[in-house]
Symmetry: C2
Subunit: 422 residues, 2 copies
């Protein structure tokens, strides 16, 4: 039987201290002793990243990003070395590698570099020699051998990309939750862990605030068909499989409800209804590195239109500065903001083929007198901006209305097998 | 006028916290603004090394040395990044480099690798572009790109070696003392800072416990004729120049008195007087990585001899184990130890040409009833093992007897110019 190659990724909370590092080592060694080749990707130890940022902050309020990457990359270098030691202690061979040593080539700006390529050669050789390979996540080097970091969710991306180049059988993402839920269990007590979910659904859930994984890693996994297993570092239970293989979820109309509470809404009044006005604004925002989330533009009235969009609350001051300046330039009117909003989204592959989901969402919300301020839809997602104070209630009623606490029935499981899609 | 290239090395206490890093940055920027090209070598921030070792210790009592190097190297990586940020804050261009990025090639065992070569190319290019280059001391890579560290005094060695390959005009070693003293000022209140000292004198002083610099770096500096300026991080005063150029010290019979208090003496009785017996013992000790300091063997009596040697107190348990086993093998007698000793040494280039120094040492010690247990001499050094409780007194009386608190006289300064040596 061919040996399986398994990539396991452990986040910062899984390696927060020496005890947890030892725990992770046991988990890794157990996987190895089941007869698999194991590559482990680790993030920085719990608080390390914050401590390093504090150090930088004592020196300067505007650190150069190249040096910030140099500094931050030490976090993962510490955790890979410690994990290798902990694995040796359990009697297995292990070797740690930095991003530079692996050959994680990146391009683009420091602190949010783009992954270009990973050379599998050294890791492959080390695996063949019987080693468990411990790879520093989140980091790489650019063509000048300068250390770069991959930005938010970078370690997940490292893991998925390694799984791709090593042709791994599965990429296991260990977190402090047991998998992907139909809604946040802290908000909805009957939220259910999904056994399986499609890449596209997970993509939509990730982008609307299911904290489990960042969208960029799921995107890469989908592109190369890498099965991802999201599971708990603290239990042996199976978590949630993310893949495109047939699964019981397929026939579910809606698979999950996600909430993003840290949103702010910006409205620009009286934008001249000429081509290129919106483009101008959003390009300026992109240059300023603001991640614009939802954009809604109404039909114009008297040659002008109102344009609304949302951003993360943290980005609001920067966003306002840029928006006000651009608004003046393009001859638009007043710029107003609203920090009291949240975004709720329901996601499901099944929406593609079943009508009436949007109608049902609006009806359920209306019944509970929850006012919808903005609406945006994709093929498999409906997002609504609502008042923040009504957000949790909205999650609960939608979760119930779509029957998400019940596991998929036998009938739907049988049905999925005949459904052919993609 | 040709631009000077200056290498500046700052130890861990000079960069113990953010305030000190900023202070170092000012110092570096001042040197740059005097019109020099500046390369800075930094050690890890004050306590970082200890903190990292503690982390490792929580995982295992016997960490793999490759992984220990991986872990420890993060210390310097943090300090170079922070120093670069602090220099940017002062408006100068600076760029930090790890050992791997510089191309510090090493060989030999992890945690005490030997420096093979440094490629000056990238640093040279960066200097030409107007950058201050911040190099991580203490670290390099081996031929497999595995991170290595250079062991004790490694950052000094990095600085001296960089000065060599860059053809620097001077290598400045910043410490928390103002230079090299004729004796430890904490023991001898009249101890005097020397303006200049020869490499060989400094080598002997370093090897007998003047804590300023490790012998290995001075050895490299001597070999390539690199002038070293030992000076204080906390004052602008000139420190001590180490070089082979003519200086006022030359005609001084004795230039300094050094003390090493943490010595232990081991005596092996009745070693068979046959070739290879001592070799056998010291080879075993070398394999066990014990650094043997002084060795004294008396003329044999009745086909056997007593062999005594000293080691650092910390190495005593290991030394005893190896010595007892070897003693049995070679048919020697009892092994005894004495932990209550210290080694006092007087050093001076002048000894080479002036007789009577040893006699004077013995006479001065005898007068104060200080018993000498072992004696060892080199061309420019006399070392004596004495009881530890008499050690500080011995330093004081020898310092006085050789008139070390007085600066070299005009006469001796004039004289030096006619003296030709080497």
């Amino acid at each position: 039987m061919k040996k399986k190659i398994i990539v396991q990724k452990f986040g910062g909370s899984s390696v927060a201290n020496a005890e947890r590092v030892k725990h992770v080592a046991k988990r890794v060694v157990a996987t190895k002793r089941e007869g698999n080749d194991v590559v482990v990707v680790v993030s920085a130890l719990g608080d390390t990243t914050d401590e390093l940022l504090q150090l930088a902050d004592q020196i300067t309020s505007s650190p150069c990003e190249r040096e910030l990457d140099m500094l931050m990359a030490t976090g993962e270098q510490i955790s890979v070395a410690l994990l290798a030691m902990a694995i040796h202690e359990l009697g297995e061979q292990a070797i740690s590698l930095t991003g530079a040593q692996i050959g994680v080539l990146t391009e683009g700006t420091h602190t949010k570099a783009k992954l270009v390529d990973i050379s599998p050669k050294r890791i492959q050789t080390l695996l063949n020699q019987g080693n468990i390979v411990i790879a520093a996540g989140f980091q790489g080097v650019n063509i000048n051998q300068d250390i770069t970091t991959l930005g938010r969710g970078g370690s997940d991306l490292s893991a998925v990309a390694l799984a791709k180049v090593l042709k791994a059988d599965v990429c296991e993402i260990f977190t402090d939750v047991e998998g992907v839920y139909t809604a946040d269990p802290r908000i909805v007590s009957t939220a259910r862990k999904m056994e399986a979910i499609k890449y596209d659904e997970m993509l939509e859930l990730a982008s609307v605030g299911a904290q489990v994984m960042q969208a960029r890693s799921i995107f890469v996994a989908k592109r190369y068909g890498i099965p991802i297993h999201v599971r708990s570092s603290f239990s042996k239970k199976e978590g949630t499989m993310i893949s495109d293989s047939a699964n019981a979820m397929e026939s579910m109309m809606v698979s999950g409800v996600a909430l993003r509470k840290d949103e702010a809404k910006i409205t620009v009044r009286d934008v001249p209804d000429k081509p290129g006005m919106a483009a101008k604004l959003f390009q300026e925002l992109a240059v300023a590195d603001v991640n614009v989330d939802m954009i809604v533009q109404n039909t114009s009235r008297e040659g002008a239109t109102d344009l609304s969009f949302t951003v993360e609350n943290g980005d609001l001051p920067k966003t306002l500065r840029v928006t006000r300046a651009t608004s003046k330039k393009i001859g638009a009117g007043e710029v107003t903001t609203d920090e009291g909003v949240a975004k709720i989204s329901i996601v499901g592959i099944g929406m593609q083929s079943q009508s009436g989901v949007a109608a049902k969402v609006f009806k359920v919300m209306a019944k509970e007198k929850i006012n919808i301020e903005m609406i945006s839809t994709s093929e498999i997602k409906i997002s609504c901006v609502i008042r923040r104070e009504t957000a949790e209630k909205a999650v609960r009623i939608l979760h119930q209305a779509f029957g998400l606490s019940k596991a998929p029935t036998k009938k739907s499981t049988a049905k999925k097998k005949t459904v052919k899609r993609k």
